[in-house]
């Protein structure tokens, strides 16, 4: 327990004596003077850390639970696998890169800027090779987007399975990217009229090759080399990755090494065997690129029980859509019988995470907490039952259903499904 702050009630303490704690919280009146105030503390007397101690810092040790987590049974090995962003503990919209989820197919590779090469070949006027230094000389743009794995929430298709927003919804991050538009780079090579598709692949052994229609490539895709102000992390594609706003994360090829202009899709492994969505009758959708409108209450949630007793409670969460800005989020406390509009922390940005809040006066009542996002197209996030009615339970990917948390009188929360 040495890494726990010494102030505040522990969860165990709250659960054991919630009545007394609630009563004192309601009274909000100290019986005895607080020694944290009346006694001079070490930090108010001695020295803190010097400026030469931490050239590049990590979070304070009290935040050691705000980390990526993996679920070992999900995949055969940790090399082609996934981990999860601790969205339950974050706020705002920008994901700290150090705990932003990873998904690799042959591990996170180490590729220096010196060794980096980007090739454009195929149906172009001039096949080209760029060094990293070349890329930094193109006109630059900076834009913020979410990246959501196509499989986010995929384990929940057949029922409530993993108990926490990190696990059910944490294959996502949201960063401010700096780089160049893909259009700028393609202009340099010159696309031939018959060039209708791109095939993009990474430098890693898996290659993660995917086909992208030219219309999307020329619209808003980016070649990014900075995220949240600094170079990409190794695990996020250092030194260069593709940014494909609003589309499934698999297309955001990391360690990008080659762009081939073609007249047809390649139908690679990652768009046939994987990232195709099987319907109830056994046929499958392919090229399901867009991530539809979705939201999640991050707190309270199974990893974020209410520990402060009755009274003011901040209900908060995230909403996003691959089809445009979020225009509204509704929150239900009773499993979808009744809804209230939540407050957006800032106006929705296209294809980026949006933070919402609903301030509630909780009196210990059971809640079935849900959130429901609406985007600029008028699309309203569906229930899982509505999605299953169209798709069945075997589509693996693209589960953007409304999530329910059952908040119990003791403040704990559980992942449930409701009628």
């Amino acid at each position: 327990m040495s890494d726990k702050p010494t102030t505040g009630a522990t969860r165990r303490g709250f659960l054991a004596g919630s009545t007394a704690l609630v009563a004192s919280a309601a009274a909000a009146r100290a019986q005895t003077a607080d020694p944290l105030i009346t006694e001079v503390q070490d930090w108010a007397s001695g020295w803190g850390a010097g400026v030469d101690e931490t050239p590049y810092g990590l979070p304070i040790r009290f935040e050691s639970d705000v980390i990526r987590r993996n679920v070992s049974w999900l995949t055969a090995d940790p090399i082609s696998s996934i981990n999860f962003t601790p969205i339950h503990a974050l706020d705002g919209t920008i994901t700290p890169a150090g705990c932003a989820f990873e998904r690799h197919h042959s591990g996170a590779i180490e590729l220096s800027k010196q060794d980096y090469r980007l090739m454009i070949n195929g149906l172009v006027d001039q096949e080209l090779v760029f060094t990293y230094a070349d890329l930094e000389r193109f006109p630059r743009v900076t834009r913020t987007f979410f990246l959501e794995c196509a499989a986010n929430t995929g384990m929940e298709w057949a029922g409530a399975q993993l108990n926490g927003a990190q696990y059910t919804h944490g294959m996502i991050h949201n960063m401010e990217y700096t780089g160049i538009t893909l259009r700028t780079l393609l202009d340099e090579a010159g696309i031939k009229p018959e060039g209708k598709w791109l095939y993009v692949e990474g430098a890693d052994a898996s290659s993660n090759g995917r086909s992208i229609p030219m219309e999307k490539a020329l619209d808003d895709c980016m070649i990014a080399f900075k995220a949240n102000g600094e170079a990409l992390r190794m695990e996020h594609g250092y030194p260069v990755r593709l940014v494909v706003p609003g589309w499934e994360g698999n297309l955001w090829v990391k360690w990008l090494r080659r762009i081939e202009v073609t007249d047809a899709p390649v139908e690679s492994r990652e768009e046939t065997s994987k990232y195709t969505d099987t319907m109830e009758d056994g046929t499958s959708r392919k090229f399901t690129w867009v991530m539809d409108a979705k939201s999640i209450v991050t707190a309270p949630s199974p990893q974020m029980p209410i520990t402060h007793g009755h009274g003011p409670l901040v209900i908060t969460g995230l909403a996003w859509s691959g089809r445009g800005p979020i225009t509204g989020v509704d929150v239900s406390l009773d499993g979808g019988k009744n809804w209230k509009p939540a407050r957006l922390a800032a106006p929705g940005q296209p294809m980026a995470l949006t933070r919402f809040y609903l301030d509630h006066n909780w009196q210990g009542e059971e809640m079935l907490l849900q959130s429901r996002a609406t985007d600029s197209t008028g699309y309203v996030q569906p229930t899982k039952a509505a999605l299953r009615a169209v798709r069945g339970e075997n589509s693996v990917y693209h589960n953007n259903c409304i999530q329910t948390w059952w908040v119990k009188p003791n403040g704990e929360a559980e992942n449930v499904e409701v009628s």
């Binding site: 195929g122 090779v129 079935l368 009628s419």
Partner: protein, 216 residues
């Protein structure tokens, strides 16, 4: 149009041998296949040496590693088994992926004839060819897999967007709400939040108590 944009003169022309070294993708129509051939008799030996430790002697998969054969006719069942034989649409994808990304941990070490032979062995393991059928750059694109017609383009715009864009109900939206399923009943969430290594009994492989994992 892009062709009219002003160029900055950055980068340099790619040399033919550089493009050849990286441009390996193979399309369903066979574009990209190098000259070569192989049959399942040769493929069995190579597969045993380089693939079977994970994928099994008969491509049936070991433990949680991918099954490459079997599962015919299961796609409309509760837990479909998706393999090359039961699910994949194109042999080209098999050739391309094996050539570029397998064996796992030692990719790009197979010669073209080895890839043809391994591809043939996987087809043979799916009961799709006889063991002496010679697969080559000449006939690979003509070979039709069972699920070749099993895919259709994303149709959410037609089947979902209108239905999910109706004005949302705000009050008295349903009479009754009951909890129908609990995550804690399955109890497969990692208990120790720092490592997530506590595998639930039966969660890996087939027939476990946990709902099947979606490979991310």
């Amino acid at each position: 149009t892009p062709a009219l944009a002003e160029k900055l003169g950055l980068g340099r022309p790619a040399l033919p041998e550089e493009v050849a070294a990286w441009n390996h993708d193979v399309r369903p129509d066979g574009v990209g296949l190098p000259v070569g051939s192989g049959d399942a008799i040769d493929g069995e030996e190579i597969f045993a040496e380089k693939c079977a430790s994970c994928h099994g002697d008969f491509a049936e998969g070991i433990g949680n590693w991918p099954k490459l054969a079997g599962g015919m006719g299961t796609l409309n069942r509760k837990d479909p088994l998706k393999t090359v034989g039961s699910y994949w649409p194109h042999v080209s994808t098999l050739w391309d992926y094996v050539n570029r990304s397998m064996p796992f941990g030692n990719a790009q070490t197979l010669a073209p004839d080895e890839v043809y032979a391994i591809t043939a062995y996987i087809l043979y393991s799916n009961d799709l060819i006889e063991d002496d059928y010679v697969l080559s750059n000449e006939n690979l694109a003509e070979f039709k897999l069972p699920n070749a017609d099993g895919f259709f383009l994303d149709n959410r715009a037609e089947t979902e967007y209108a239905q999910f864009s109706a004005p949302a109900c705000m009050e008295n939206c349903k009479d009754d709400v009951k909890i129908t399923m609990h995550a804690t009943v399955l109890d497969v969430t990692p208990g120790d939040p720092t490592d997530g290594s506590a595998a639930p009994a039966g969660a890996s492989g087939e027939g476990g108590t946990a709902a099947p994992a979606a490979e991310p």
